[in-house]
């Protein structure tokens, strides 16, 4: 096998970019799981749906409900619009899919999130049809040259935005009262409520925050692929694997697990076979579970099981 430092560097950047997307979606999983004790199976649709809304306003012409519309707006304005809409989406999701079932145990909530996922995929097909749609990116060129390297600016954007979001989250959790309330709620909801934390509001904020993490992932990754109703499912599945690799419930675990899966599958796709790219995440998952069942950062597997 020929060892090429330039190629490896390019693979690393690309792998970190995909890994960043997995990490952001994995964070969404973990934050919701910590707040309400349930895996949100609609997490992938938190990526897919805002991507469709974005392309609706980014393209000069697009078919919506069988009618061609021309709603093109400036790209930064569209990003802001989608983020604002997804705040409402997060609140609505909490109110409809979680809140009415919150005292019924975890199973009804899981079924409810699966239901929302199916609903949103079918709604997307009804509204935008089944053809894959290409999302424009912020950048005019696909690749730029940095010395001998050819790098996609979108990859750098993904890595940069993810780094900023992780720093923001650290600030939020460690340096703000809201973040401490979120951590307290994650650890013990009953006690948090008794010391005066408005747990219902913290849960709503968590859903909004997870929806925004998904939205940002979608806006960042969609220009590299296409927007389809299935786009969220595969990302979410790998992000879910990433959060288990990291130790489910662990925030650093979600980040490290996501980055690791992104990097390893990119190298694996290049050196082994690109046909196996999507299997690599699960090979990593199974290997980690065999050697360290609690995940890289996991502690109390018995409680989480």
């Amino acid at each position: 096998m020929h060892f090429d430092p330039v190629a490896n560097m390019q693979l690393l950047v690309s792998g970190l970019a995909f890994g960043s997307i997995y990490a952001l979606v994995a964070l969404g999983f973990v934050l919701i799981y910590n707040a309400v004790g349930v895996v949100n199976f609609a997490q992938g649709e938190f990526v897919m749906f805002p991507s469709y809304i974005a392309v609706t306003f980014l393209l000069p012409a697009i078919t919506v409900f069988g009618t061609v519309v021309h709603w093109q707006l400036p790209i930064v304005g569209v990003y802001l619009l989608v983020l604002v809409l997804m705040v409402g989406f997060g609140l609505l999701f909490n109110r409809i899919a979680y809140h009415p079932l919150r005292d019924r145990g975890w199973m009804p909530v899981v079924i409810s999130t699966i239901g929302v996922s199916i609903f949103l995929r079918n709604a997307a097909q009804m509204i935008w049809g089944s053809q894959p749609i290409v999302m424009p990116s912020l950048f005019a060129v696909d690749t730029i040259s940095v010395g001998p390297l050819h790098i996609r600016p979108q990859d750098l954007l993904i890595i940069g935005v993810t780094a900023v979001l992780i720093a923001f989250q650290f600030f939020l959790f460690e340096r703000t009262t809201l973040g401490k309330q979120m951590r307290a709620t994650a650890q013990d909801r009953a006690t948090a409520r008794l010391v005066g934390v408005r747990v219902g509001r913290i849960v709503a904020i968590t859903f909004v925050y997870s929806a925004l993490l998904g939205t940002i992932s979608g806006l960042l990754v969609a220009p590299l692929f296409t927007v389809t109703k299935e786009m969220g499912a595969l990302i979410a599945l790998k992000a879910f694997a990433a959060s288990i690799v990291g130790g489910f419930g662990s925030i650093p675990g979600a980040i490290v697990g996501g980055l690791a899966i992104g990097v390893i599958e990119t190298f694996g796709g290049f050196y082994i076979s690109s046909a196996y790219v999507d299997a690599i995440a699960f090979i990593i998952l199974i290997s980690v579970l065999l050697v360290r069942p609690q995940g890289l950062f996991g502690e109390r597997v018995a409680e989480k099981a």
């Binding site: 009262t177 973040g179 401490k180 948090a192 008794l194 010391v195 005066g196």
Partner: protein, 267 residues
Amino acid sequence: MSSADDVAAAASGLLEVRGLVKRFGGVTAVNALNMTVRAGDVHALIGPNGSGKTTTLNVISALYRADGGSIRFDGGELAGLPAHAIARLGVARTFQNIRLFGDLSVVENVMIGRHVRTRVGFVGALLPGGATAREERETREKAHELLRFVGLEHVAGASARSLPYGDQRRVEIARALASEPRLLLLDEPAAGMNPAETDTLVVLLRSIRERGTTLLLIEHDMNLVMSVSDRITVLNFGQHIAEGQPAEIARNPDVITAYLGGTLDAA
């Protein structure tokens, strides 16, 4: 208790429990309980195991919902309010089984208790800058001050889980005080403490009262109860059997029967 006493107590009652009922299935844990806690007092709630003391505290703080009766705090009804609203009105508590946030540091635990008195909303909290940073700093300073008050400032940065039992109890008290409660509910604060720790606790409870906080205390350590309490309510089988000053309670025949008679009969 004389009827004049009753009127005086009712007039200055910070917490007035009237006809409180709590059932678990067929078991009536609290049965038509009346109790008045006067502002500024250390008020002890005592009784044999299973007499409904902790249940009463849990109903007051809305961990359980009452099946009947009223709980008036400073003139307003607490029954039916959610737990966080009661905390915001100025009722804080500690737990028989310590319930700290183990993964948070000691000072962060106290800060959580403080936030019901902070004002920056959740949008404000997400915006970096002046108000959030200032409030965070003030909250942290206040938390350090309270840790100094309970004698734990030196472990502020440690994770709450790592502290010895007696210290965890004092962190819980600091967390409860952080909300500036007018009424502090303490569920067996001396449980599991050695005599030296209990002595420190007595001093602490007295200085909390001197800060103007009213205390409602459940405790099995009778020396502690007799030395800190202004008034005592005695429960048996969920019912109020006596209320009065420590000296009156100590010679009340019903109380002596409840504590000793049952045991002797059973033996």
